[in-house]
């Protein structure tokens, strides 16, 4: 392979030289106000509670919140997971019970039963936000009582403010907020922000080490106390595209936030690693030497599925904000033809490198009117629809082929070694369609 020039930079250079298109950077997204068929931010607790192994996420909400969590989690795998819901009832609302006192009681019972918990996270919900329950204040008071044994944080995962992965964004923001400021002379460090599967973290950590970047931290860390002090010494590399609020706070702390394509596929991973390498002055030949094997493996793994995906027309419903990056991967590395990229929220600055690599013909949609989007999708009649679990079977029953979008949030897909898995996720429903001799 040739010496690496990040493709989004090549695209930008070509653009400034008047040599080519700007991808779909300038495409104006469709914005319709209608029914949103998406999860709320609480749902991100499903992976957050597995990631931070000594944290408990306590949702302060309604029976609906509790029901959402068990329905979205799919099965009740764990005897007692490290999340739960303090269900607000009539007595709380009518003022017969003092809600802060009630919450204290719930927390005391919880901590008594789970002495292993080091970080308690109070998570706001739609009802708690509407009644303006001040969880920040509650967390502050609890902290005064329980720190340092248990640290208490709060954030909102409510559906009136957050969609799905934005819950993680708010949690990480709260984590950063609770982290001390680094001393002015603190050594430079790389902070990789956004939940990654442990296996992927380990892979990236090995690559950074080989590149000679030795002060690397991941946010969130696997244990509550492991987040380092953050300040102007910090270079932030976003591993996930949904960190609008977290990066704002990091920038206020003086951190430098790198903008790069997200680490999906060979091209995305290389450009993403390159952004970090450049920030830490890693020599280009060293970068190429270290990444070459991974790049080759990733390209080879993806090529196994390319035939199945090449020329396939794909439609993305909004879900996790990963959609533009996923579409870029499918388009560039698997040869798919992207019809529409729906995303719950489009952070144009963070997404710019990925958007620049998408064809200008790509339709973007931010937010949702699900009925109108379904109309568009039917009219487009794509080969593959990436959508939520509520829409999958109804589309399949119409004879269409679908992929659950939530799998991209739950499955390890980032990095070189997972590029083939990512392609396979898209290829599987198409392959299955070819395989099955049953019609509906």
């Amino acid at each position: 392979m040739n010496r690496h020039v990040p493709p989004h930079i090549a695209a930008a250079e070509a653009r400034s030289n008047g040599q080519g298109g700007s991808g779909c950077t300038d495409v104006v997204p469709i914005k319709q106000r209608g029914q949103h068929e998406v999860f709320c931010g609480l749902t991100s607790i499903i992976w957050l509670h597995r990631k931070v192994q000594d944290a408990f996420f306590l949702i302060v909400g309604s029976r609906t919140c509790a029901h959402l969590m068990q329905s979205a989690a799919g099965v009740m795998i764990f005897a007692e997971p490290r999340f739960g819901t303090a269900i607000i009832d009539d007595r709380d609302l009518s003022g017969m019970a003092d809600m802060y006192e009630e919450l204290d009681k719930v927390v005391d019972r919880l901590i008594a039963r789970r002495p292993d918990i080091r970080m308690l996270v109070l998570v706001g919900s739609c009802p708690s936000e509407v009644i303006k329950l001040d969880l920040g204040r509650a967390a502050h008071k609890l902290n005064a009582r329980m720190a340092p044994d248990v640290r208490v944080l709060s954030y909102s995962g409510s559906g009136i403010e957050t969609t799905f992965t934005q819950g993680e964004d708010n949690f990480l923001q709260a984590l950063v907020d609770a982290t001390p400021k680094a001393a002015p002379d603190a050594p430079r460090q790389l902070l990789v922000a956004g939940c990654l599967a442990d296996v992927i973290e380990d892979q990236f950590a090995r690559i950074f080490e080989a590149l000679g970047i030795d002060n690397v931290h991941f946010l969130p860390a696997r244990a509550a106390g492991e987040v380092p002090p953050i300040g102007a010494n910090t270079v932030v590399l976003m591993a996930q595209p949904y960190l609008t609020e977290t990066t704002k706070l990091l920038e206020r702390r003086g951190a430098e936030v790198l903008i790069a394509p997200f680490p999906l596929g060979e091209e995305g991973t290389t450009a993403w690693l390159k952004a970090a390498a450049d920030a830490f002055d890693v020599p280009a030949d060293r970068f190429d030497a270290i990444t070459m094997a991974g790049r080759e493996r990733a390209a080879k793994a993806v090529s196994l599925y390319r035939q199945r995906l090449d020329g396939k027309r794909v439609f993305f419903f909004p879900d996790s904000q990963m959609e533009p990056s996923l579409a870029r991967f499918l388009s560039r590395e698997a040869g798919a033809d992207i019809i529409e990229v729906g995303t719950p929220y489009l952070n144009k600055a963070h997404m710019a490198p990925d958007l620049a690599l998408l064809p200008a013909s790509t339709r973007l949609a931010e937010g949702q009117d699900v009925d109108k989007q379904i109309d568009r999708c039917r009219a487009d009649d794509p080969d593959l629809i990436v959508c939520g679990m509520g829409l999958g079977n109804p589309f399949e029953a119409e004879g269409r082929t679908t992929k659950w979008s939530i799998e991209f949030a739950f499955t390890p897909i980032q990095g070189y070694e997972q590029a083939g898995d990512l392609a396979e996720l898209f290829a599987r429903p198409i392959g299955r369609r070819d395989l099955l001799q049953v019609e509906v």
């Binding site: 209608g34 029914q35 949103h36 068929e37 998406v38 709320c40 931010g41 609480l42 192994q53 000594d54 306590l58 302060v60 309604s62 029976r63 609906t64 509790a66 029901h67 959402l68 068990q70 329905s71 979205a72 099965v75 009740m76 795998i77 764990f78 005897a79 997971p81 999340f83 739960g84 819901t85 303090a86 269900i87 607000i88 009832d89 009539d90 709380d92 019970a97 719930v106 019972r109 039963r113 789970r114 292993d116 739609c126 009802p127 936000e129 509407v130 409510s158 559906g159 009136i160 403010e161 969609t163 939520g388 679990m389 509520g390 829409l391 999958g392 079977n393 109804p394 029953a397 509906v440």
Partner: protein
């Protein structure tokens, strides 16, 4: 404020969705934030429904709160009627919208929609899913069937009834309806309307034409049936036909209303349950300890089948349906157990551990508990799981339902001869506690001790289902007692799946008699005292 991890029932608006999704031609406009749309996947995933539930959510956001959420509701309502062209709509609020008090019913009335609008008041902070379903169905029936005059019957027309209660996402509702419709047909009864499942709003207007109502699921249709009885004097058949005897009683009750002869229908039933239960190989079922938990109707029926039709011993009975606590308490009295009325699954787990059953009949929640405790389990009630919608015909009601129950309740148990063989070979080097048991395929082979999940294990730092090795199956419940090593050795010769019970009984006996330490003599004295 109550701490909850897993819930048996969703919020009441999910009950309303189960009614709406079961019906045809009805649309539900729900004032709710975007996250509440998760409920769609219950229907499209768990039940594998081919259509989206007929629900429009307003999905208002925080920034709308200061502006006009009422206007958002009105727009959603108008657009839903235009797009889906329903015969009627129900309107209401989920928990969050209830707090902003927009009054969806009042707003919808201002829109001059050309379809009937039935407003729902479902208090989310007091009530739960089944109550929500019952209230929704009742409001629909009252709103659409109220003020009608029953059509006069044609001369010689057969007697007819409505079948009330089945909904979307119900436990085996699909097949129960088929089975009971068939049974009623055998009695010469025509089914006028099945509702909510499969009915249109227009069909509900025809409810008063039936001669009587059959209530299959009192949790859902009880309120509506009582209203129909008061309003149109339609008698209610409320014997739930679950189990052989209850089905026979149901047939006789229906026949008494129609003047038909029930006995030929009973005699000709394709029912194998009774013979299978009487057959010699079922002897080993006698006295098997069974713990039962579910919605009230299924729990009560399963207990009757277990104890009186299979010869099990009901060692625990409970429900999460607080509205029906009295019925379950009354039933529990018959089995000499105290009813467990709770919606806390941890309490249910503790009760199961304490009762030491050999079989658990419960919901998906108890299935998980039983799996951790390595006890056989059959699911008998909602909340449901994708496995509770089997591809094959699999009712729980009627005579075929009894056949299905025989298989479901008996197959998880160690078979009779197998049990004797376990006794014969318990010292065999290839066939011992550590070896994989054929009926517990899910277990890892090679474990040296039977393990059990104890409540203490929940505090383990990670949630991987923690198996704590507890000596001889159940930690000694009587701390001060000790066992001689001979007695420990002898206890180990008892098959592992009853060893916990043997230990508990022996210790109970020793405590009562003031014996300490426990010897081989004590062990066998206790065995003689308690019987098997």
């Amino acid at each position: 404020m109550q701490l909850t991890v897993w819930t048996y029932e969703g919020p009441p608006h999910v009950g309303a969705m189960r009614v709406a999704t079961g019906m045809k031609g009805l649309h539900y406009v729900l004032h709710a934030p975007q996250g509440d749309t998760y409920a769609d996947l219950l229907f499209t995933m768990i039940e594998r429904r081919k259509q989206r539930p007929p629900v429009t959510y307003t999905t208002f956001q925080a920034r709308d709160l200061g502006a006009d959420t009422a206007e958002i509701f009105k727009t959603a309502c108008k657009e839903a009627v235009d797009r889906f062209d329903p015969q009627a709509i129900i309107v209401g609020a989920s928990c969050t919208a209830e707090l902003i008090q927009d009054d969806p019913g009042g707003l919808a009335k201002t829109l001059d929609l050309n379809v009937p609008v039935i407003p729902l008041e479902l208090p989310s902070y007091q009530k739960k899913e089944n109550w929500g379903a019952a209230e929704t169905f009742f409001q629909l029936v009252r709103g659409l069937a109220g003020g009608r005059t029953p059509e006069p019957k044609a001369e010689g027309a057969p007697k007819s009834c409505n079948i009330l209660g089945p909904t979307a996402l119900g436990f085996r509702h699909r097949d129960d309806v088929t089975e009971i419709t068939r049974l009623l047909g055998a009695l010469g009864v025509a089914v006028n309307v099945v509702a909510p499942m499969g009915a249109t709003p227009h069909d509900l207007t025809r409810l008063p034409n039936a001669d009587f109502n059959v209530v299959l699921y009192p949790e859902i249709a009880g309120t509506a049936a009582q209203w129909l009885k008061r309003t149109y004097r339609q008698p209610v058949v409320d014997t739930v036909p679950m189990g052989v005897n209850a089905t026979r009683e149901f047939v006789r009750e229906v026949a008494a209303l129609t003047g038909a002869d029930p006995e030929p229908v009973i005699a000709e039933a394709d029912e194998r349950f009774s013979w299978y239960s009487r057959s010699i190989d079922s002897n080993y079922l006698t006295g098997k300890r069974v713990f039962i938990f579910g919605d009230a109707t299924h729990a009560i029926a399963a207990a009757r089948v277990a104890q009186h039709e299979l010869g099990f011993k009901v060692c625990g009975l409970g429900t999460y349906s607080r509205e029906f606590a009295r019925d379950v308490r009354a039933a529990a009295k018959d089995y000499d157990v105290e009813a467990l009325i709770t919606d806390d699954h941890l309490e249910v787990e503790d009760a199961i551990v304490a009762a030491q059953p050999e079989l658990v009949l419960g919901t998906q929640m108890e299935r998980h508990i039983a799996k951790r405790l390595r006890i056989g389990c059959a699911v008998i009630s909602a909340p449901v799981h994708v496995q509770d919608f089997p591809a094959r015909y699999s009712p729980f009601m009627g005579f075929e339902g009894a056949n299905v129950m025989f298989d479901s309740f008996v197959h998880p148990l160690v078979m009779g001869l197998e049990e004797h063989l376990l006794g014969m070979f318990r010292e065999d080097f290839e066939f011992n506690d550590g070896a994989q048991a054929s009926h517990l395929a899910a277990l890892h082979a090679g474990a040296n001790h039977e393990t059990i999940h104890t409540p203490e294990a929940r505090t383990a730092p990670d949630d991987k289902t923690q198996d704590v090795v507890a000596n001889e199956g159940m930690a000694a419940s009587f701390g001060s007692l000790s066992w001689t090593s001979d007695a420990e050795q002898e206890l180990r010769k008892i098959p592992f799946f009853v060893r916990g019970k043997a230990r508990r009984n022996t210790e109970l006996f020793a405590t009562e008699k003031g014996v300490n330490p426990i010897t081989i003599e004590t062990l066998y004295d206790a065995k003689a005292h308690f019987g098997r």
